[in-house]
C-alpha cells in the first residue's frame, strides 16, 4: 500500500517536473533561436544597432532606437491611462459592490469579456472609430489650446503614439483589473473590520489597509499589463502610423518593436531579415529586464513593509 502510494507520488512529481522543464526549454530555445537568427546583424552592426536612429532597409542602414523608443513611449501612455482606471474598477467591484454581488459579477464578466476580444478587432475599431474620435475631440482641442507644449505641437491626424497608447490602455485594462480584483477580494475581512472598528472611513480602509495588503498582487497585475503593452502587435500596427521616428510630439506617427516586425518580416531577406530578428531579441530582453526590475522593486517594497511594522 505504502509502496503504491509512493510510486504514484513519484510519477506525479516527474510529470510536474517535466511540465516545468518544458517552460524553461521553451524560453531558452527562444533566446537561442533569436540569437542565431540575428547573429549576422549583431556582427555587422554591433552595439551601434541599439542606438542607431535611422531605419532605411534599401540602404542597409538599420538602427533600432526608434522602435525601442516607440515601444517604451506607447507602453508608458498605456500604463498612465490604464493603470489608474483598472485599479479604480477593481476597488469599485471588490469594495463598493460587496452588497450588490450580482451587479459586481456582471461588471466583472463584462471586463473579462473585453480581454477575450482579438487584437485585430481592437485595431479595426481603432482605425474606424477611435482614430476619428480622438483626432477630432481630443487631439485637436489639445493641439489648439496647448500647442506650445512640445508634447502636443504636432498636426493631429490620429495615426500616432497617442492613439496607440490609448488603444493599448483599453487592451490592458481587462487584464490588470481582473487580476487586481481577484487580489483585493482575498484580502481578509478582519483587516477591514479592524479599521472600521477604529472609526476609519471607507477611503481610509481602502487606502491604508486593503491596498497595502494587496500591494504585491496589484504589482503583479501592473507587470502583466505592461507585458501585454510591450508585446501587443496587430492593433498597434494598425493605428500607430508606422514611421520610424523619435519625436517628443505625441501626435506624430511612430513605430514599435513588434509593429516593425509584423510589417517587414514577410518581405525581408538576408541582413534585413536578420536585423528584424534582432529586434525580436531586443524585445525579449527589454521584457525580461522590466520583469526583473519590477521584481526587485517589489522585493524592496515588501521588505520595507515588514521592517516598518
Amino acid at each position: 500500500m505504502q509502496f503504491r502510494q509512493l510510486r504514484g507520488d513519484t510519477i506525479l512529481k516527474i510529470i510536474l517536473a517535466v511540465a516545468s522543464l518544458f517552460i524553461i526549454v521553451l524560453v531558452v530555445g527562444l533566446a537561442v533561436e533569436l540569437s542565431l537568427g540575428s547573429a549576422s546583424s549583431i556582427f555587422k552592426f554591433g552595439p551601434g544597432f541599439l542606438i542607431g536612429s535611422n531605419w532605411e532597409p534599401s540602404q542597409n542602414v538599420l538602427g533600432a532606437l526608434p522602435f525601442i523608443y516607440g515601444t517604451l513611449l506607447t507602453s508608458a501612455i498605456a500604463i498612465l491611462i490604464g493603470f489608474p482606471i483598472s485599479l479604480g474598477v477593481a476597488i469599485f467591484i471588490s469594495e463598493k459592490l460587496k452588497s450588490h454581488q450580482t451587479f459586481g459579477f456582471m461588471l466583472g464578466t463584462i471586463i473579462d469579456l473585453l480581454a477575450a476580444v482579438p487584437s485585430v478587432i481592437y485595431g479595426l475599431w481603432g482605425v474606424f472609430i477611435l482614430i476619428p474620435f480622438l483626432r477630432d475631440y481630443v487631439e485637436k482641442p489639445l493641439h489648439n489650446s496647448f500647442g506650445f507644449i512640445p508634447l502636443f505641437s504636432g498636426h493631429p491626424f490620429g495615426y500616432d503614439f497617442f492613439t496607440a497608447g490609448v488603444i493599448l490602455a483599453i487592451m490592458i485594462i481587462p487584464t490588470m483589473s481582473a487580476v487586481s480584483r481577484d487580489v483585493l477580494s482575498v484580502v481578509p475581512n478582519s483587516q477591514r473590520e479592524a479599521m472600521y472598528s477604529l472609526g476609519a472611513t471607507d477611503w481610509e480602509v481602502t487606502g491604508k489597509t486593503v491596498l497595502p495588503y494587496a500591494r504585491s498582487g496589484i504589482f503583479g497585475a501592473f507587470i502583466l499589463g505592461l507585458g501585454r503593452a510591450f508585446g501587443e502587435t496587430m492593433a498597434v500596427t494598425m493605428v500607430i502610423g508606422n514611421i520610424p521616428s523619435i519625436s517628443s510630439n505625441l501626435f506624430s506617427a511612430g513605430a514599435t518593436l513588434s509593429s516593425i516586425i509584423a510589417n517587414d518580416f514577410s518581405e525581408s531577406t538576408g541582413i534585413f531579415q536578420s536585423s528584424i530578428i534582432e529586434l525580436g531579441l531586443i524585445l525579449f530582453f527589454v521584457a525580461l529586464l522590466i520583469n526583473v526590475l519590477a521584481r526587485l522593486l517589489l522585493w524592496r517594497v515588501t521588505r520595507g513593509t515588514r521592517v516598518k511594522f
Binding site: 498636426h155 490620429g158 502610423g241 514577410s266
Partner: protein
C-alpha cells in the same frame, strides 16, 4: 416517462430518415464529369497579396473545370513567395516584382526558374480632399511624375502649391497641408510607384534611389504608413488632405463607399490619363511590344513602366502599370504534379484572364499570353515537355 422515450425515439428516426434522404440526393447527383485525364493532385502556391482576390476567383472556377485538382494559395507577400519558391516548399511561387539577379543566383543548382506574368494592375494616386468651395474633390485631379515625386519628397507640402495648381487650373485647391500615406510593409505596389518616380524625377532618383518594395521614404511634414492596401485606403479615407499610392482594384471595390478618389497621371505623350481597364490594357500591350525575355531567362530588369515611360506614340497609356508573376521550375520532379501545374497555369493565362475584370484586374493582352504559352511549353518532366 415512457412517452418521453417514444418521442425521443421518433425524433431520432425522423432525423435519420431525412438525413439519409439528403445524403442520397447529394451522393447520387452526378458531378461534373471531367473530360481530362489528369490524375488528382494538390498544388500549393505562396506569394503576393495583390493577386490574392483574383486567385480565389480562379480557385473556384478552376475547381469546376478540373475538380480532381486542388489549388491552395497562401498570400504571405511577394518576398515570402520567392523564398518559398527557392526552397521548393511550394509548387509555384508568386511575386509582384520579378526576381532579382541575386535571387536567381540563390536557386537550387540544376534548376531553371520560369517567370510567367499572370495578371496586371495599376497604381493610382488616391486622395481625400475637400476643395476650397467646400465640395469633395472627385476623381480626376491631375498629377505628373515630378509633382508626385515632390509631394513624397516633402518639397510640396500644401494642396494649394503652385505646382499642383499649374496642372489643375480650373480646380479651387484648398489651403490644406498634404498628409502623405504609404505602405508600412514591403509591397509590389510600392515597387511600381517608386519605379515610376525613379524614372520621372531626378531628385527622387538621387535622394531615394532605386525602386524597392521597402523604399526609404523621405520624411515629409505629415507622413504616415499603414499595413496592406486596405490600411492605406483607410488612412487616406479618414484624413482630409491625405494622398497615397493605392492599387486600383481596391478603389474599384469600394466605389461610392468612402471619401476615396483618385487622380490622373500624365503619360509620356503629355496626356493626363485616368486608370481604367482599356488604358491599362493599352499600357500592357505597348510594354510587351517593347520586348519581353523568354520565360526561362532572367526577368530582373523587366518593367512595364520602364518599357513605356518614354513611349510618346502610345497616347492613351496609363503610366503606372505593373504585372504580377507566377514562378515555377522548368524541371518538374513528378509527372502528376507537373501535369496538374501545367494545366492550371495554362488555364489561368488563357481562360482565367477574363474573370478578374470586375475586380479591376486587366486581362493580359494577346502578345503577353503568347509569351506565357511559350513559357509553359518549356516545363518538362525527365527532360520531356509535359505540354506539347
Amino acid at each position: 416517462m415512457k412517452n418521453t422515450y417514444i418521442i425521443i425515439a421518433a425524433i431520432v428516426v425522423i432525423v435519420i430518415i431525412i438525413g439519409g434522404a439528403f445524403a442520397y440526393i447529394y451522393l447520387s447527383t452526378p458531378g461534373k464529369k471531367s473530360t481530362s485525364t489528369l490524375a488528382s493532385a494538390t498544388l500549393n502556391g505562396e506569394g503576393g497579396t495583390l493577386v490574392a482576390p483574383l486567385m480565389s476567383v480562379w480557385q473556384g472556377a478552376y475547381a469546376a473545370v478540373e475538380p480532381q485538382i486542388t489549388v491552395n494559395y497562401n498570400p504571405q507577400g511577394s518576398g515570402a513567395g520567392i523564398t518559398a519558391f527557392q526552397q521548393k516548399i511550394v509548387d509555384f511561387g508568386e511575386s509582384d516584382a520579378p526576381m532579382t539577379a541575386t535571387q536567381y543566383g540563390a536557386l537550387p543548382s540544376g534548376t531553371t526558374a520560369l517567370t510567367i506574368p499572370i495578371s496586371a494592375s495599376a497604381v493610382v494616386p488616391a486622395y481625400n480632399l475637400k476643395l476650397a468651395n467646400g465640395t469633395v474633390c472627385k476623381n480626376g485631379l491631375n498629377f505628373n511624375g515630378t509633382v508626385l515625386a515632390n509631394i513624397f519628397l516633402g518639397t510640396i507640402t500644401n494642396w494649394n502649391d503652385p505646382q499642383i495648381a499649374a496642372l489643375n487650373p480650373t480646380i479651387p485647391l484648398p489651403n490644406t497641408p498634404i498628409t502623405t500615406v504609404h505602405r508600412s510593409d514591403g509591397s509590389g505596389t510600392m515597387f511600381a510607384f517608386t519605379d515610376f518616380l525613379y524614372k520621372e524625377s531626378s531628385s527622387w532618383a538621387t535622394k531615394v534611389g532605386k525602386p524597392s518594395t521597402t523604399p526609404s521614404w523621405p520624411t515629409t511634414p505629415l507622413e504616415l504608413a499603414a499595413p496592406k492596401n486596405a490600411g492605406v485606403a483607410a488612412a487616406i479615407a479618414g484624413n482630409n488632405g491625405a494622398i497615397g499610392p493605392l492599387e486600383i482594384a481596391y478603389i474599384l471595390e469600394n466605389t461610392g463607399q468612402s471619401s476615396l478618389y483618385y487622380g490622373t497621371v500624365q503619360n509620356a505623350a503629355g496626356n493626363f490619363i485616368i486608370a481604367n481597364v482599356s488604358n491599362i490594357a493599352a499600357t500592357l500591350q505597348a510594354g510587351a511590344t517593347a520586348g519581353l525575355p523568354a520565360g526561362n531567362a532572367q526577368w530582373s530588369s523587366v518593367s512595364i513602366i520602364d518599357n513605356t515611360y518614354n513611349n510618346k506614340t502610345a497616347t492613351t497609356i496609363y503610366p503606372i502599370v505593373t504585372m504580377t508573376y507566377a514562378l515555377v521550375y522548368e524541371q518538374q520532379s513528378s509527372q502528376t504534379q507537373g501535369a496538374a501545374l501545367v494545366n492550371f497555369l495554362s488555364w489561368i493565362v488563357n481562360s482565367g484572364q477574363s474573370l478578374g475584370t470586375g475586380l479591376g484586374y486587366v486581362p493580359l493582352p494577346a502578345n503577353i499570353v503568347a509569351v506565357d504559352n511559350t513559357s509553359i511549353k518549356l516545363i518538362t518532366y525527365n527532360g520531356t515537355p509535359i505540354q506539347t
